[in-house]
Symmetry: C2
Subunit: 264 residues, 2 copies
């Protein structure tokens, strides 16, 4: 099932939508946060009259399995160039996530850069990276790994030791069957790789996302994404994970930042 | 008037609060976003039973002058270790900002770092930095500059040229009269300096914040803050500004990220 199909929403009127959170998009039974935000995003988009996501911040309140979801979208402001929405996705009466998003009119092609202090990560060819595939008899990689295509830099797929410049997790991303990317697929990509903190000597464990904020510069990138995620600060039970997503022509596609809990 | 006084809120029951957005906390007549978020934050805090801000994301919808504000706080989840709230601050019937915040129990002292890939910015002594004071006969520095104390690295206070490693804006921060810092003062500090993009050869102009997300690692830092803000990517009408806030003992106090519009 494609990401487009798996994130489909049905309008119920008055800004309410229903959706089916699909099985298999999970890590240890907990549905991936980028996928869930994609579902909320479809509902937001349906209210946005053709506008597309430029920025979204989501806060995750309760873990979710597969099943029926309800999304309530509220328009906060419709401006000349930007529309802002709030969405709350609930399952079984519990809030799973709450999101704020800013949507703008679509522009063709990647935006011209006036300033760029950065570059795509240096990645080996796709064939020389480690493709994540779900473990047959093991819980890791999780079932979710079969729903997207992540090819990880072999230097970073070292669990238990930081690579040079790490902890980080770099790699290629595309949807299965080369499904075209849109803004919500970019958001999905920002949460699709294993946590960068796995590439360190800290204990490997569940790192629940509290906040995920993604600023999308190009909501219709062509080709595969070149992604780089890194964690710089682990303190007080928190960790950050910053992501940069690029297209293969050197255009910045998105910046992401997560705040996650460190397992105690 | 102290930040504490200027951000005071009055409970009206049912999660509703009123506040007075004070004059003089503005830039060209538009009230500073960190200060406005501080007001919303006081209302959130009043509902949080002693918990303190660990993370907040705010989206700014309409510019605000001074005057009466109403804040509506809605609890989204009260957990064992964390409480999550939504707040909407409105003035004259228009939404000024909407915020999501996660609050946790207070811990004494800065949190121990398990991993730190970074360091406080190298700053000259406070006396050797440029103190921002409001222009007497000029619109810049703005009146807001008199409400907080920002001492800027002289290398970065170069409007129209990027400093080495720039565009960036580094400096010391404290509240006037050395008012003790709390989590919302840290949020204020994250939006108190001139935009880092001023330290570049791009046109200087109004850069309205669309999203401000601040992750606070230490909500009660002692002494002055050592701050560093930088912009790395300007494209498609957007710019990012990432901030790191440190205490003088080398502990990370907060990470901030803004998404702002580039003037066209």
């Amino acid at each position: 099932m494609s990401f487009g199909e798996a994130s489909r929403v049905s309008p119920q009127g008055g800004g309410k939508y229903t959706a089916e959170v699909q099985p298999g998009w999970d890590i240890f039974g907990v549905t991936n946060g980028g996928y869930l935000l994609g579902i909320a995003g479809r509902a937001i988009e349906a209210e946005a009259e053709g506008r597309t996501v430029a920025s979204v911040s989501a806060r995750y309140l309760n873990p979710a399995g597969p099943g029926n979801a309800e999304i309530v979208v509220e328009p906060l402001k419709t401006g000349r160039t930007m529309s802002t929405f709030q969405a709350i996705l609930s399952m079984e009466g519990k809030i799973v996530l709450t999101a704020h998003a800013s949507l703008v009119d679509q522009v063709d092609g990647p935006p011209a850069a006036l300033l760029s202090r950065g570059a795509p990560p240096e990645l080996p060819r796709v064939d020389d990276c480690m493709k994540l595939v779900p473990g047959e008899d093991a819980p890791l990689p999780p079932p979710f790994a079969g729903k997207v295509e992540c090819y990880i830099h072999p230097d970073d797929y070292q669990i238990g030791t930081a690579s040079e410049g790490g902890p980080r997790m770099r790699g290629w991303f595309r949807l299965t069957d080369d499904e075209p990317l849109d803004g919500w697929a970019v958001v999905l990509a920002s949460d699709a790789f294993p946590p960068a903190i796995f590439n360190s000597d800290l204990p490997v464990g569940w790192t629940p996302t509290v906040d995920l904020t993604v600023h999308v510069r190009d909501p219709r990138p062509r080709g595969m994404l070149m992604c780089s995620y890194s964690t710089r600060f682990v303190s007080g039970g928190w960790l950050d994970e910053d992501g940069e997503l690029w297209d293969t022509e050197g255009n910045l596609v998105a910046l992401s930042r997560q705040l996650a809990l460190v397992p105690r």
